[in-house]
């Protein structure tokens, strides 16, 4: 069995160390004897999108996000949208999450287009407004997710049912409606860094299993010894005050 991981804009959207998500998926597959190939997807046309099983994108600086947005909307958008409609499993964090939504309106009112696979849009409440920074705990399918958020934009969902998780501690999408992230089919958007997946192995395995089901029809994953991950998860809960 083999999975192909596409790492979208590894150099442009690399500011918040979301590379840990790629490392995590790669290792958790290898430890189970699943072959993994990681492809770096920089700016430019995307061929063979149908070969991708997992797609990851992280957060970048404002300037880099502008460049990524241009490439995503003008060049890769249609191909990626088709692949995601076809069930491609994707995880977009922070700036990447914003680009997977409809648009990002910055503090000057200028709009950055997204590829609108997630039913979400983001606005920046203006210069001088507080960034959403801190440890965060959310509830996803009855399980807690832990991470660290750091974003100026506030994201709103057309329907809060599309949220990925509910905020227990922290700001989440906008600090108002207790939603965190968004989901559409197998596409997930979130503000959680940390990196997210290594400290939330259940969520990591959820993504791997979805990818395996789609490509190879696998029904379950052999368990791993997650004692170290669990203790880091517990520690993060404690520090976040949960």
């Amino acid at each position: 069995m083999k999975l192909v991981i596409g790492h979208l804009y590894p150099r442009l959207m690399n500011m918040y160390a979301d590379r840990g998500n790629v490392i995590c998926l790669e290792q958790r597959c290898r430890w189970r004897g699943i072959d993994v190939e990681v492809r770096s997807l920089g700016p430019g046309p995307l061929h063979n999108a149908a070969e991708l099983d997992l797609l990851l994108v992280g957060g970048g600086q404002d300037r880099e996000q502008l460049l990524a947005s241009r490439d995503l909307v003008e060049t890769k958008g249609p191909v990626l949208r088709d692949a995601m409609r076809d069930g491609l499993v994707a995880l977009a964090v922070c700036g990447g999450y914003q680009l997977f939504g409809e648009y990002y309106r910055d503090h000057t009112g200028a709009e950055l287009r997204g590829i609108a696979v997630l039913p979400a849009y983001t606005t920046h409440p203006g210069e001088g407004s507080r960034r959403c920074i801190g440890n965060i705990v959310t509830m996803w399918k009855g399980k807690k997710l832990v991470g660290f958020e750091n974003h100026g934009g506030r994201t709103y969902l057309h329907d809060t049912a599309a949220a990925l998780a509910t905020v227990k501690n922290g700001f989440g999408n906008n600090g108002e409606d207790r939603t965190e992230g968004a989901q559409w089919q197998n596409v997930y958007g979130t503000y959680l860094h940390g990196s997210l997946l290594p400290k939330n192995p259940a969520f990591a395995d959820h993504l791997i299993l979805q990818a395996l089901q789609r490509r190879h029809g696998a029904a379950s994953l052999p368990p791993l010894d997650d004692a170290v991950e669990a203790s880091a998860h517990e520690r993060a809960l404690k520090i976040a005050g949960r």
């Binding site: 500011m15 840990g20 600086q61 502008l66 801190g134 440890n135 290594p198 170290v228 880091a232 520690r235």
Partner: protein
């Protein structure tokens, strides 16, 4: 701003003390009392508290005191290398026979600088310093903007700009924008001394009205094929184009050109033409300033430290210090506390290495990778304010090169470090959150002749040193400052 209520009446009654001056005196007296108490209570040696008290009462005190430094001040800022650069420059100026005021303890906020100055200040506000006195001040990327509102230094050194504690400082581009607008308020009296190899830092010189001097590295033997993944600013500041690197040294530092607009690394006034790395023993460096070349043997290890000799030399050259003093100062400098600090305990040895951001940590790991394995490592990860609350950055550090090491993970976020190391392929990992226990465990499980390498974030480094000081292995950093 302080209210100068006394000013209006000064001409009428000269015996009255102006309110701002009174305020200064109160600030100085209270700060001195706070400093005495803080030292007695062993709360960090009083390196920040007096300044904090003083600037609260008299917000313009820093500018007032700095204006009394006869030969002016040099501000050193940037992400990595501030403390070492300032130490190198201090030693060069000392070798030149000058009297140097220097915030050596690495307390690099305005309050830290103020605390240091207050130690040389009489109660009525007069700074007691020799007629040739000069100040070498390390300031972090936010504090320098505050300090520049009160004082115009003769030189500003910018070492580099990397991502660092994003929850505290913000994005690299934001920091650069803050520096740019602060520099726009200055004039020809202040020279900018910039790292030509860092595109973002170099671009600060383009818009500057006053004099600009550049330093950089020109040794193709040290170039890598490509910039590392943790690099931050490898895009042209003018075009939406990735820069092309003819040589990449570390992070986004190198010899670059924009393929679209042709913008490129500026000409360097001070260059390192050859650097030979000797692991922890130091670096042989050939430095070229206009009309003169000289060779030094740095006792600070690694390429990242060798880089710091360049801004220090550039500042000294700008101040017309003779080459002999520059060489003497560079040769004499040992690493600042916690930045590659060596201790021996019993038969064993340890190196304490500060890590605080991905680019800097990768440089430290490159030093370790050159040592004979298998390595014994203590990795201390903390998440206090001075470390940055977000520990995500460890996922951008290439710990994979430690795969065969035995590591003890420690600190408030020991478990996070353990997870990172597990996913880097390490198999021998022990988690002990308490730093003293972790140190003992790491030392006891290591063969007697081996060396322990301790990687620690800022407060972890301080805590490790506190444990050592209690055991008489080192002196506390504020005591060293007095020595």
């Amino acid at each position: 701003m302080p209210v100068s209520a006394g000013n209006g009446t000064r001409g009428v009654d000269d015996r009255r003390i102006p309110f701002s001056r009174l305020r200064r005196i109160v600030a100085i007296l209270l700060a001195k009392i706070a400093g005495a108490f803080s030292r007695r209570l062993q709360q960090g040696g009083g390196t920040a508290l007096p300044g904090l008290v003083a600037e609260h009462i008299s917000p313009d005190l820093l500018g007032f005191l700095l204006s009394q430094v006869p030969a002016g001040a040099i501000f050193v800022t940037g992400t990595n290398g501030k403390t070492t650069t300032a130490a190198l420059l201090r030693n060069i100026l000392a070798a030149d026979g000058r009297t140097v005021l220097h915030n050596a303890t690495g307390s690099n906020l305005t309050r830290g600088v103020l605390s240091m100055l207050l130690e040389h200040t009489a109660w009525h506000g007069r700074l007691c310093v020799a007629p040739d006195g000069i100040a070498v001040l390390e300031l972090d990327e936010a504090a320098i903007v505050q300090a520049l509102r009160q004082h115009r230094p003769t030189c500003i050194v910018v070492t580099n700009l990397f991502r660092d504690q994003l929850d505290r400082y913000g994005e690299v581009q934001t920091i650069a924008a803050g520096l740019r607008s602060a520099f726009a308020q200055l004039d020809a009296a202040t020279a900018l001394l910039l790292n030509a190899d860092d595109p973002l830092v170099a671009s600060l010189g383009e818009t500057y009205a006053g004099p600009v001097r550049y330093f950089g590295l020109d040794d193709p033997n040290l170039a890598r094929d490509d910039i590392e993944l943790a690099a931050d600013s490898h895009y042209c500041p003018h075009e939406a184009t990735p820069l092309r690197y003819a040589a990449a040294y570390y992070g986004h530092l190198g010899e670059y050109v924009c393929p679209t607009c042709g913008w490129q690394r500026p000409e360097r006034d001070v260059r390192a033409t050859k650097a030979v790395l000797h692991g922890f023993a130091g670096v042989d460096l050939t430095v070229s300033v206009p009309h003169e070349d000289f060779r030094v043997r740095l006792r600070v290890p690694g390429l990242y430290n060798a880089y710091n000799a360049l801004p220090a030399t550039t500042a000294a050259w700008r101040l017309e210090v003779a080459a002999e003093a520059i060489v003497a100062g560079l040769n004499a400098t040992i690493p600042a506390f916690g930045r590659a600090e060596f201790i021996e305990f019993g038969e064993r040895k340890a190196w304490l290495l500060l890590i605080k951001n991905p680019v800097g940590a990768n440089q430290v790991l490159r030093l370790l990778a050159a040592e004979d394995g298998p390595l014994h490592v203590l990795a201390i990860l903390q998440d206090r304010a001075a470390d940055g609350h977000d520990v995500s950055w460890i996922w951008d550090v290439d710990f994979e090169c430690l795969a065969s090491a035995a590591v003890t993970a420690s600190g408030r976020r020991a478990e996070d470090m353990a997870v990172r190391l597990k996913y880097a392929g390490l198999e021998d990992i022990t988690v002990l959150r308490d730093i003293a226990n972790a140190f003992d465990h790491a030392a006891e499980t290591m063969p007697a002749h081996k060396t322990l390498f301790i990687l620690a974030t800022y407060t972890g480094m301080l805590e490790m040193r506190r444990v050592w000081a209690e055991r008489g292995l080192v002196r506390q950093f504020w005591e060293e400052d007095l020595a």
